[in-house]
Amino acid sequence: MIVERPRDLLIKKILAHGFMICFLALIMFPFVMVLSISFREGNFSVGSIIPENPTLEHWWLAFGFDYTRPDGTVVKPPYPVLLWMWNSIKIGLIAGLGVLTIATISAYAFSRIRIKGKGVLLDGLFLIQMFPTTLALVAIYAIFDSLGEVTPILGLNSHVALILIYLAGVTLHIWTIKGYFDSIDTALDKAAAIDGATPWQTFRYIFLPLAVPIMSVVFVLAFIGFINDYPIASVLIRSENQMTLAVGSRLYLNEFKYLWGDFAAAAILSGLPITVVFLIAQKYLISGLSDGAIKG
């Protein structure tokens, strides 16, 4: 028999909470530092955590407004941060939705339709995916440089080109969703066939609604990956106005001056779309919908 003594319980609680608080502090510390830098006067990376003379200068600049210092000097925003953010969101959403569409349909096909050499195909895709994209950077650059001569839409500096490259990273997500589809009892397929549903109808009305939670996970993961991507975007996008936030932020830290304060404000802004997307997606992350499909 387990007896819980109130005193022991209290000690356990204190220990558990203590551990959690330490852990949280560890995770939060870098974020707090960045936040602190963004409010710190001047562009210094070191200083006290609570700024001595807090200033909104970096935030005003990040949002694209001129900032007038107390001494009367006017500072112009060095880079179009909001435009970069818009680029990031646009590319992230389009590529994320594209990946979701392709991955879901492919996963259904891989899970349910009999295809010759399916296993080899899947393994092959997986193996190719295992090489880091950075390895292919040279090839990607060369390919889109040449394509740009045919049409600028598919050339360097083009968002379409960037989205196309991102779409190629769909394999891992196919595997994820396929794993979920595999776990759905084939009795549902048969029931749908008996109801007279075509494969498309079975996919649309049975599998798609059931897969919403896993699809939202995939979307969030893909979206975060695209928003945070630096290597591909930095190679492909050259002009300032086409940059994503991840690439653009790098400009703050050039060889001649390190604008740590402005960089910090932009960095926090870049976390915003991810947070929003995550909060929206959370609504769809309800699991356990497949309970009660088959009982016996």
């Binding site: 009892d185 009795a187 549902l188 048969k190 029931a191 749908a192 066939a193 008996i194 109801d195 007279g196 549903a197 075509t198 109808q201 009305y205 049975i206 609604p209 059931l210 919908l289 497949s290 309970d291 009660g292 499909a293 088959i294 009982k295 016996g296």
Partner: protein, 355 residues
Amino acid sequence: MTLSVKNVTKIVAGQAHIKPTTLTLETGHFNVFLGKTGAGKTSLIKMMAGLDPIADGQIIMDGQDVTKLSTQKRNISLVHQFFVNYPHMTVYDNIASPLKVAGMAKSEIQGRVEEAADILQLRPMLNRRPHELSGGQQQRTALARAIAKESRAVFLDEPLANLDYKLREELREQLPELFAGRGAVVVYATSEPEEALLLGGYTGLMDDGAVVQFGPTAMLYRKPESLMAASVFSDPPINSAAVRKMGSTITMGATSWPAPDESLADGDYVVAIRPHHVTPTQTATNTVALSGEVLVTELSGSESSAHFRMADADWVSLSHGVHPYEIGEQHPFYLDPTACFYFAPDGARIVGEAV
């Protein structure tokens, strides 16, 4: 509407899973497949439904060869032992799904769904999801889907097996009514002989991947064509023993009784007699005295059964009322000689008719 199978076979790993089977099932009554687990009932149903491949043979619906037709296009319904409902849809949408897929008008769908829901008393649950229902309600939802869809054939594969006793009784009574006058061929698989008898109609006895006998259910009970058929339709199991016919007498060990038919050639036979024709007291019909050691007794209130051992064979007696047995005692039993089936030693039927 008729559903015929012609010489259909199924081969799994080189072995005949379903031996060549030919049957014609008709509408207007239940077609019951009766057999033990593994006899091939579900396989045969899946083949007719187009869910399992057929090695050879044809399936014909209303004169149309549907062997090559996909399940989707056969216009059938199937209710499993393990009920299958779409977890993310409400009961209403579950019942409506075959109709929606068929592109029926919304108002007509609503009429049909509500009709089916009324028959199966699902009206109050229409807006719930399957996991919010009890097992019986879920199975009724699956049945409602089969009813709402006006299919050419309805396959019910042990639909009541997973329900509790009371609900099973209730639904079993309703089932023939539910499908009466709908014009669909109804196929019902079960492993319980009692269920086949209660549902009436036609029964196909299945054993080891073959339909051993097909006909009106009562006929199957009264005139089993083989020892196998006689045993399938008996619960508790039928008694059988080796006998010898000489002249006008049947001899079984030390016991003998007059032969039913002079035309039966002299020789060795297997006699089979249902347990309720072997009673612990003598009656006007049960006249042939036996004696055996009582091994096990079971009382079910209105009936009592005794398993007894006689001449190294186990016998079962089933009688009305409560009969006092002592385990281990030597007890007399009486057999009705007119209720005996005589089979050739290999199991084929010769003469005799149960009453």
